[in-house]
């Protein structure tokens, strides 16, 4: 759970940096999209590097999902009877890990069908023109809603996930706890704000 989560987290950090290039106009953004495919050239063939990344990611997603499923099953089995008197427990981020994870899984499917394959894209999807595709997506109200909700979920998920991963990997300690929580909150905030800034920019016309 921790290792696969951290791989995805690493990817997200790279992803948000790439996304922010949208603010430098279509030229630079589209060129960046192209570079993703020529990474590793000339050692690697066109888009091989990207596929490598995708395979690693897919494996991480699968591992993450499988362990989440196993953990959840085990946890539900370990606590078969609920308390009659329910009380609000841990932080919101902690309590929403399970549902947040499911929301994110669904989002990833939509996100790929929307901006990678274009299957559910609205307004003519064009391969190699990511800038226009992004603007198209965020020109619909539902595109924005889905995306923003998912990015808030990312923030919450990362907030508890990063700190938890540190504990699982045995990095946590009383002394480091503050620092780890600070980093977790920082990462969550940067990712959420970074990702959401794009649809907001499209909506407000900063990016068009």
């Amino acid at each position: 759970m921790a290792v696969s989560g951290l791989i995805m987290l690493g990817y997200l950090v790279a992803h948000v940096m790439g996304n922010l290039k949208v603010f430098f106009g279509p030229g630079e953004f589209n060129a960046y999209g192209h570079w993703l495919r020529t990474m590793g050239d000339p050692v690697l063939h066109y888009s091989w590097a990207l596929w490598l990344v995708r395979i690693v990611l897919l494996a991480a997603v699968a591992a993450h999902a499988v362990s989440a499923y196993q953990l959840s099953r085990r946890d539900i089995k370990a606590r078969p009877t609920a308390y009659v008197h329910r009380r609000r427990g841990a932080s919101y981020a902690t309590r929403t890990m399970r549902w947040g994870g499911i929301i994110l899984a669904l989002f990833i499917v939509w996100h790929i069908l929307d901006l990678t394959t274009g299957t559910v894209h609205t307004g003519g999807f064009e391969e190699g023109k990511p800038y226009q595709n992004v603007v198209d997506t965020f020109s619909t109200w539902y595109g924005n809603v889905i995306y923003i909700v998912a990015m808030l979920a990312v923030g919450l998920h990362v907030r508890h996930g990063f700190w938890s991963a540190a504990q699982t990997l045995g990095v946590g300690s009383a002394r480091r706890d503050r620092a780890l929580k600070l980093i977790a909150n920082g990462l969550a905030l940067v990712l959420t704000v970074g990702f959401i800034s794009v649809p907001v920019a499209v909506m407000t016309g900063v990016v068009s």
């Binding site: 953990l71 085990r74 946890d75 539900i76 089995k77 370990a78 606590r79 078969p80 009877t81 609920a82 308390y83 009659v84 008197h85 329910r86 009380r87 427990g89 841990a90 902690t94 309590r95 890990m97 508890h160 700190w163 938890s164 540190a166 504990q167 699982t168 990997l169 045995g170 990095v171 946590g172 300690s173 009383a174 706890d177």
Partner: protein
């Protein structure tokens, strides 16, 4: 004080259970929570009803026998054991829900009494230092740095009450298990069995049907002895280290 109690009643392990409502009157704020239940039980006996069964013994907060979930909180609203919780933490006219520890690994024996023998089996798996009587070297032969001794003590304080499991939404016993592992593994005397201890205890913990840890932190919040949450991370570190070493 006059109180409305809703108490989990269950005849035995196999019988179904339910919340029953009782009214208790004449409760003093100086009473402990268990003394309040004593008052109820005295009345029940005289009425010819079955008194409420609950585990308790030292009533000083150290034996770890008492185990009530009060208004959804393991050991109630204060950070202490149920026996050290006093009625001054409640208001006249309050409705109080009293339930047993809930976890698959802690089946209900009767009413509010549960079976916590799984904890004993975790300790039996490796929660000791093998030092047969008579084999000990002079106590000062191995000085222990004060910081390590304090770390060991902080974790050795665990009273094995099971509040961590009761509070955990996953019924996980990580905090209990980690407390003992950290106590023994930091000491030079515990070093020879450091790897087998953590591997065996964690394996037994898993076999006993405790849930996995999702680091909700509920355990450490409920712990009457303040075993800290980073204890779990320290155990994970020990486990990873032992796993790596045992592969070699």
């Amino acid at each position: 004080m006059k109180l409305n109690l809703r108490v989990w009643r269950q005849k035995n392990a196999d019988a179904p259970g339910d919340m029953a409502t009782y009214e208790v009157d004449g409760i003093s704020s100086d009473m402990s929570f268990l003394e309040m239940l004593d008052t109820l039980n005295e009345e029940l006996i005289l009425r010819g009803e079955d008194p409420v069964a609950f585990d308790h013994d030292c009533r000083e907060g150290i034996c770890g026998a008492c185990s009530l979930v009060i208004n959804g909180d393991a050991h109630g609203p204060e950070r202490t054991t149920t026996c050290q919780l006093h009625m001054r933490s409640f208001q006249d006219g309050d409705t109080i829900d009293v339930e047993p520890w809930r976890a698959a690994a802690f089946p209900v024996v009767k009413d509010l009494v549960v079976d916590r023998s799984a904890f004993d089996r975790i300790i039996q798996a490796g929660g000791y230092i093998s030092a047969p009587t008579g084999s000990a070297p002079e106590a000062h032969a191995t000085p222990v740095p004060k910081a390590d001794a304090d770390f060991a003590f902080e974790h050795a304080e665990c009273i094995g009450c099971g509040a961590c499991v009761a509070a955990c939404p996953n019924g996980s016993a990580m905090l209990f298990t980690s407390a003992k592992i950290n106590h023994l593994n930091v000491l030079p005397q515990g070093a020879p069995e450091r790897e087998t201890r953590v591997l065996d205890m964690v394996a037994t913990m898993d076999e006993e049907g405790f849930g996995g840890c999702t680091l909700t932190g509920e355990c450490a919040t409920a712990c009457p002895k303040g075993i800290p949450l980073p204890s779990i991370a320290a155990m994970n570190k020990e486990w990873l280290r032992a796993t790596r070493k045992s592969r070699r």
